[in-house]
């Protein structure tokens, strides 16, 4: 009885970390910059395709492709930010939605054009496959890897945004643009870098997600809902909030599916509704 319970807790936590890795970039762009970037998962998809292409065509090892996925997604996002996003920083939420949902459709079509509609095969290296058994509980190696990566990213991000000069500038630029400008902070630059950071994280999250969930052009939409749930439940502008929300949602989703499979996928939405009724601004939200 205890064995399955631990198994479910661990799997749920690992699944939550997968959600966290996919959505942490959005809690940076949406949360910090207040930009409703529905195209977030398009950047994740881009990261996924970069990883798959580097592995299958050029024979790169999996771990080496992860930074490449980050860089590629960040680089593409800078171009898009300069061309498109920048113009809509002060536009209404609806305008931002329209622009970014359009980008999602375009990205799906582009992915289908280049890579075809077929799902991309990808094979993890042997040391990340299989599972280890501790006291009768199965711990999948890749899930452990996801958990470790998620924890590392949380620490790095929180440190970077809370305790560095750059982090302070970004937060200042978001909270009060005019004041920040007045103090000589390069708001434009700070926004561009933040946006690239968020998108780069999306690319990394996508690359890390595909060994578990697979990759085809519909990826850009398939995980959008989960990502939005995590960010809204966690509270905007809170890395820790996203982390807690992702863990909570992952575990409740997994436990729900294990103990009451009839409820199935519905439980995650139930949890979301409950949490948002209790705290409309999200777990750690301030506004």
């Amino acid at each position: 009885m205890i064995g399955p319970l631990f198994g479910v807790l661990f799997d749920g936590f690992a699944y939550g970390m997968l959600l966290f890795l996919l959505s942490v970039g959005l809690s940076v762009t949406l949360g910090m910059m207040n930009f409703v970037n529905l195209a977030h998962c398009s950047f994740a998809m881009l990261g996924g395709y970069v990883t798959v292409t580097l592995m299958n065509r050029l024979g790169w090892p999996f771990l080496a492709t992860l930074p490449a996925a980050f860089v590629a997604a960040a680089a593409v996002s800078v171009v898009l930010e300069r061309l498109l996003y920048r113009r809509l920083y002060r536009a209404s939420d609806l305008d931002q939605c329209l622009l970014t949902i359009g980008i999602v459709f375009v990205s799906i079509a582009v992915a289908a054009y280049i890579f075809g509609t077929v799902q991309q095969p990808m094979q993890l290296p042997a040391y990340l496959q299989g599972s280890i058994v501790v006291m009768g509980v199965n711990f999948a190696v890749y899930r452990l890897f996801l958990v470790g990566t998620a924890l590392a990213i949380t620490v790095i991000l929180v440190a970077a945004l809370e305790y560095t000069r750059f982090g302070a500038q970004v937060r200042a630029a978001v909270d009060n643009q005019r004041m920040a400008r007045g103090l000589g902070i390069n708001v434009e630059g700070a926004f561009a870098v933040t946006f690239a950071l968020g998108s780069g994280l999306a690319g990394l999250g996508g690359a890390l997600a595909i060994p578990m969930v697979g990759l085809d052009p519909s990826f850009a939409f398939a995980y959008l809902i989960y990502v939005l749930i995590v960010v809204s439940v966690g509270g905007l502008a809170s890395i820790g909030g996203s982390f807690a929300a992702a863990a909570l949602l992952g575990i409740s989703d997994m436990a729900g599916k294990y103990y009451v499979p009839q409820l199935g996928a519905f439980l995650i939405y139930l949890v979301m509704v409950g949490l948002l009724m209790w705290r409309p601004a999200g777990l750690f939200g301030k506004r």
Partner: protein, 393 residues
């Protein structure tokens, strides 16, 4: 008087010319498929086979040219499929409706086929009852119970006694679950548990754990093709379920080429049931696969391709039989009872149900020359759709 005669004569001549021109005119086939969206790849594969067939056999039959009009449903959209079918019939004057990857779309277009009296060829949509929607409809793919009831009975024969079933919670999943459980129980087996997971399910570990808890000697799974088979296969391996000890059984999509590439050795030993695999060993199939590979950059044909290929074959042969006549009554009469050798093996159209009769293959994932392949090791010949066989009684 003279003038009237001339006028009448020329009128008759015009009418005559017009009617021969009509007989010589192109035969229009309206293809309704999900060319975009989540199921776009299925349409790509089906359309590839259709194009290849036309390329190989020529673009005219019985002295008339074949023309295609392609319409995109964008996914599961019965209302759209129905509207497109109406447009094709009314505006574009098509003679034949064909394609149909998805059951709801095929069902909706079936109404149009009945009302407008149009011959309709379903090249995939695999829910049993689809063909009952129109008396002018034939199917050249497969039905889910055809595969899974046969598979359930086979599982018992192979020694399985306690089986757990897990399927996606939607029409085809329910069909597969029902078919397998029926076949298995009628043979004398015991279903010791079952679960249905959501159609779009990113992580299977909770469900696999449930199955493992009751310690079955076989697990039957069904997931839609695409990204999920590999995810499920990997999860089974992660949870320590070894297909070589506990039978893991599923429908062919579970171990299609792409899924196997992602699954890797975790897929070894999985047993699946299917009606077509590009590794099927026959001269005709080797030739088909070779031509397909050459035309589409090394890509292998799959179940959608074979459905499209045989659908085109049926259309061509039926038109030859009717001498180019395209009314639904003649075409359906020509199609009933037709039998031919397909790359998948011998197949025929059941004259009563207008559905396909074919060989069902049981395959196991094995390593052949360093790569994972579905190796056929057993088969059941001449299988009809069991659901419609029961409906008659």
């Amino acid at each position: 008087m003279h003038r009237i005669l001339v006028t009448l004569g020329s009128l008759v001549a015009t009418l005559f010319l017009a009617s021969t021109a009509h007989a010589q005119g192109a035969i229009k086939i309206g293809l309704i498929m999900p060319y975009s969206g989540q199921f776009a790849d299925t349409a790509t594969q089906m359309d590839n086979a259709i194009k290849l067939y036309v390329k190989q056999k020529g673009d005219s039959v019985a002295g008339r040219k074949i023309e295609f009009i392609r319409k995109d449903t964008g996914g599961i959209a019965p209302d759209v499929a129905k509207r497109l079918a109406q447009e094709l019939v009314v505006r574009d004057n098509v003679d034949i409706l064909a394609g149909f990857v998805l059951t709801p779309n095929a069902m909706a277009a079936g109404d149009v086929s009945t009302e407008a009296k149009k011959f309709m060829v379903v090249m995939n949509a695999a829910t049993a009852i689809v063909t009952t929607k129109s008396p002018y409809m034939v199917r050249t793919s497969v039905t889910i119970p055809q595969l899974n009831e046969t598979f359930g009975a086979w599982a018992y024969r192979s020694g399985a006694r306690k089986v757990y079933t897990m399927v996606s919670d939607y029409g085809p999943g329910h069909d597969a679950e029902g078919g397998f459980q029926r076949g298995f129980k009628e043979a004398g087996g015991d279903i010791i548990g079952s679960v249905r997971y959501p159609v779009a399910n990113p992580d299977f570990s909770a469900f696999v754990q449930r199955a493992k808890d009751v310690n079955p000697d076989g697990i039957f799974v069904f997931v839609p093709g695409g990204v999920q088979p590999a995810a499920l296969g990997k999860t089974l391996a992660e949870r320590g379920i070894d297909p070589r000890k506990t039978r893991v059984m599923g429908q062919g999509e579970l171990t299609d080429d792409n899924a196997l590439k992602s699954m890797g050795d975790a897929g070894l030993g999985i047993i699946t049931v299917f009606h077509y695999d590009y590794n099927h060993n026959s001269a005709m199939n080797r030739e088909f696969v070779k031509a397909y590979n050459e035309a589409y950059g090394g890509r292998n044909p799959d179940l959608f391709s074979i459905g499209g290929w045989d659908g085109m074959h049926l259309i061509y042969e039926a038109l030859k039989k009717t001498g180019g006549k395209t009314d639904a009554e003649s075409l359906i009469a020509a199609a009933k009872g037709m039998r031919w050798e397909s790359p998948r093996g011998p197949i025929s159209i059941d004259p009563e149900t207008r559905d396909i009769v074919q060989t069902v293959y049981i395959r196991r994932v094995e390593k052949v020359g360093g790569a994972l392949r579905n190796v056929e090791f057993d088969k059941v010949e001449n299988v009809k759709d069991p659901v419609k066989a029961r409906m008659k009684k």
